[in-house]
């Protein structure tokens, strides 16, 4: 906290101070990323260009149809989907977001002395958190989200 206070005092003038150095705060250390981007672009462009140059070209009706895993295309591509898919997506979102809380918890929990009360509190906390998700799941079940008929 004291460290924070000292840094606050200098903040207005400190905007042009560098961030505390981690590797990722220096431009130079982004070079691999830049290299990767260049490689990705080169690979993609080269593939298109090379197949243009070397590939055989036979146009035709069959070739112009939409590719649907080898089946004959049925109906329009702008087809509406059942709104139930939306509900499934919402349930997915609940579990999706739950994960971002579970990860930090899981990364920290092994560092606690497991014989102390502190560890039990941590465990209770995450169980309560999971419980809320279970309630959401029960609610979704009662609501009929998982019924397909």
């Amino acid at each position: 906290m004291h460290g924070c206070l000292t840094s606050c005092g200098v903040l207005p003038g400190a905007l042009n101070l560098p961030m505390p150095p981690l590797a990722a705060t220096e431009v130079g250390s982004y070079a691999p990323v830049l290299l990767l981007i260049i490689m990705a672009i080169t690979f993609a462009v080269a593939n298109v260009v090379l197949s243009r140059i070397f590939g055989p070209r036979r146009e035709g009706n069959i070739k112009a149809t939409t590719y649907e895993s080898g089946m004959d295309p049925v109906g329009t591509a702008r087809k509406r989907f059942n709104v139930r898919f939306y509900l499934i997506a919402m349930i997915f979102l609940v579990f999706d977001i739950e994960i971002i809380f579970l990860y930090p918890w899981a990364a920290t929990f092994p560092n606690i002395d497991h014989s102390t009360d502190q560890a039990m509190i941590w465990l209770a906390r995450i169980f309560f958190f999971m419980l809320t998700t279970v309630i959401a799941y029960i609610y979704g079940y009662r609501k009929g989200v998982f019924k397909f008929d």
Partner: protein
């Protein structure tokens, strides 16, 4: 951590009830579904009891800028929540309920229940979640906490508005409300981020300590200041104040009246809790007199207050819809209450600062008064409906629909008269006693121009409030007017009861109950103001306060992280200990 948990019993009660309601409300049996409202009511009453220090004197006060606010705010939310709850039956799922039947008509047969088309469970659960968020706002001591509580208050209301009627106008209201709400949330979130950036902490006490340190060192840095101003502008959405007020009339008109009543109280209170916590974090110890908020925040609030009052009142004159009038009046009232925040806790802020001097207490007192009076006005609108020839029903909307109400339905008519006159602030009624401390605290703090504008606006407001009061009392109903359908009383009689309770509340608070409430509000306004918060001139500031304040903060929520845990606490520990350069060493 555990200590903090103990202050949360009211919220935990509401949470358990909300989960129960979410399951119970989906039952196929109507009598089980009907349990939703009693469960909510019971939970709110228990929560109120707990927040008043029930259950063997569990101490509900929290740390932070305004410790007593938690208890006062939660109790206030619980009580007004019960009145709001009485308006709820019949808002959603009328087709699945047999309507209780008005006088002289048979109950209509209900439709077969379908869980996927029912909204009872969600509506009641969201109602409780929103109130829970509001209670969490009252007990907030951290910016993260405050942000989550504000969002927990707001997110359910977006849904409540949208599902409150099956008509397109509710949907439109919901969309407008949601999009502007998301904008407001993004703005105050950015403000919170800047506050954190400028002070290095999200804990309100630590932020305050840092601000005091910065002020002593020659001025609060611009990032912190910009953060506070942005946060307050973003919060204007919640209190329906000027830069973010556009949605208010549309949303109140589009939502069903019970939900509009909810919107007029709950998000507004959340906004005031948050603004009050933020301004208290800054402290009223700046400006030429040493009793003002820091310059930029002071000017921002001043401009917002003046514009909000004026815009709200002037535009309300032009309206014919009751709900739009009440919406603009809600905007105007936010402006009035901001005067109390600008005035601050008055000289010293200690025990000598009574209700008439202490702007904060005035705001807390007025918020309760406004909540009670406003629910009454909306309850009258909710209790009346226009039944068309084809059997459909709709809410009444125009002021003309109120004509002759005192003669035809005296209870509703007089409730409307009392509520409107109360909102206007006529002397024997509650609104007057609520507004008076705002005036006196403004004068006490020396903001004469602001108080004059407040007075002028109160006079403008008389025009439309008297219209609302005169239509039921003095005008008589023209039979030729019932072209759109006959106006009947809603079959849900609890709504009338809510109106009556609030009318009785308005009278009772004015007659004598206001005294205890006022002293409670005063204690909130006086609480927690360590000398560093209020009325200290720059010369009086002693640096000794800072380490002490920082120390108390260290014992607080951060110790939830285990001390042995290097990976989490490492950075903090290093920045605590070594010389300033240690900050840069730790990565090497």
């Amino acid at each position: 951590m555990i200590e903090k948990l103990q202050t949360l019993w009211p919220e935990i009660t509401l949470f358990i009830a909300a989960c129960a309601v979410m399951i119970v409300g989906l039952s196929g049996t109507r009598s089980i579904r009907a349990l939703c409202t009693p469960i909510c009511g019971l939970a709110l009453l228990i929560a109120t009891f707990l927040s008043l220090g029930g259950l063997g004197g569990v101490d509900i006060t929290v740390t932070g800028p305004l410790p007593v606010l938690a208890s006062y705010g939660k109790a206030m939310v619980g009580v007004i929540g019960v009145i709001l709850l009485l308006l709820i039956p019949g808002v959603v799922d009328r087709e699945f309920d047999a309507a209780p039947g008005g006088p002289g008509e048979a109950p209509q047969p209900p439709r077969a229940f379908e869980a996927i088309r029912s909204n009872t469970a969600e509506f009641h659960a969201f109602f409780l979640f929103s109130l829970m968020g509001l209670m969490l706002c009252a007990g907030a001591d951290d910016l993260i906490w405050l942000f989550l509580a504000l969002e927990l208050t707001s997110l359910p209301t977006y849904v409540m508005v949208t599902i409150s009627t099956a008509r397109n106008r509710s949907l439109e209201a919901g969309v407008k409300y949601f999009f502007l709400g998301a904008l407001g949330a993004a703005i105050f979130l950015y403000g919170f981020a800047l506050i954190y950036g400028g002070t290095g902490s999200t804990n309100l006490e630590a932020v305050h300590a840092s601000i005091v340190a910065q002020a002593d060192a020659g001025g609060i840095n611009s990032i912190t200041m910009a953060g506070f101003v942005m946060a307050i502008i973003g919060l204007c959405f919640k209190i329906a104040a000027v830069p973010m007020h556009f949605y208010t009339p549309d949303v109140y008109q589009g939502a069903a009246a019970p939900v509009a009543a909810f919107l007029a109280f709950v998000p507004k209170s959340a906004g005031f809790f948050a603004i009050m916590l933020l301004t208290a974090t800054l402290g009223w110890s700046f400006g030429a007199s040493g009793t003002e908020l820091p310059g930029p925040v002071h000017s921002a609030l001043y401009i917002i207050a003046v514009l909000t009052m004026t815009v709200g009142n002037v535009l309300a004159i032009l309206q014919n819809s009751i709900k739009r009038i009440l919406a603009y009046s809600s905007i105007a009232h936010s402006g009035y209450m901001l005067v109390g925040i600008i005035a601050g806790p008055g000289g010293g802020g200690g025990a000598d600062s009574t209700l008439s001097r202490n702007g904060l207490s005035a705001v807390w007192f007025y918020l309760v008064c406004y909540g009670v009076m406003n629910v009454g006005a909306f309850a009258v609108v909710a209790s009346l409906e226009r039944r068309r020839a084809d059997g459909t029903h709709d809410e009444i909307d125009s002021v003309a629909d109120l004509r002759g109400l005192c003669a035809s339905r005296p209870l509703l008519g007089w409730t409307m008269v009392i509520s409107a006159a109360g909102l206007l602030g006529l002397p024997p009624l509650l609104g007057f006693f609520g507004k008076l401390p705002l005036f006196t605290s403004g004068v006490g703090a020396g903001h004469y121009l602001l108080v004059i504008i407040l007075g002028i606006n109160s006079a403008i407001a008389a025009y439309y409030y008297l219209r609302l009061a005169a239509a039921p009392l003095l005008e008589s109903r023209d039979p030729a007017e019932s072209v759109g359908g006959e106006i009947v009383e809603s079959p849900y009689r609890l709504r009338t009861a809510a109106g009556l309770i609030s009318a009785v509340g308005v009278v009772a608070l004015a007659l004598g109950l206001g005294g205890p409430l006022g002293s409670a509000a005063t204690s909130v306004g006086q609480s927690g103001f360590a000398p560093s918060y209020v009325g200290r001139r720059a010369a009086d500031r002693s640096p000794a306060v800072i380490p002490a304040a920082a120390h108390t903060v260290d014992d607080e929520p951060r110790d939830v992280e285990p001390a042995a845990d290097g990976s989490v606490d490492g950075a903090t520990i290093e920045s605590d200990g070594g010389p300033p350069d240690a900050r840069f060493d730790h990565a090497r």
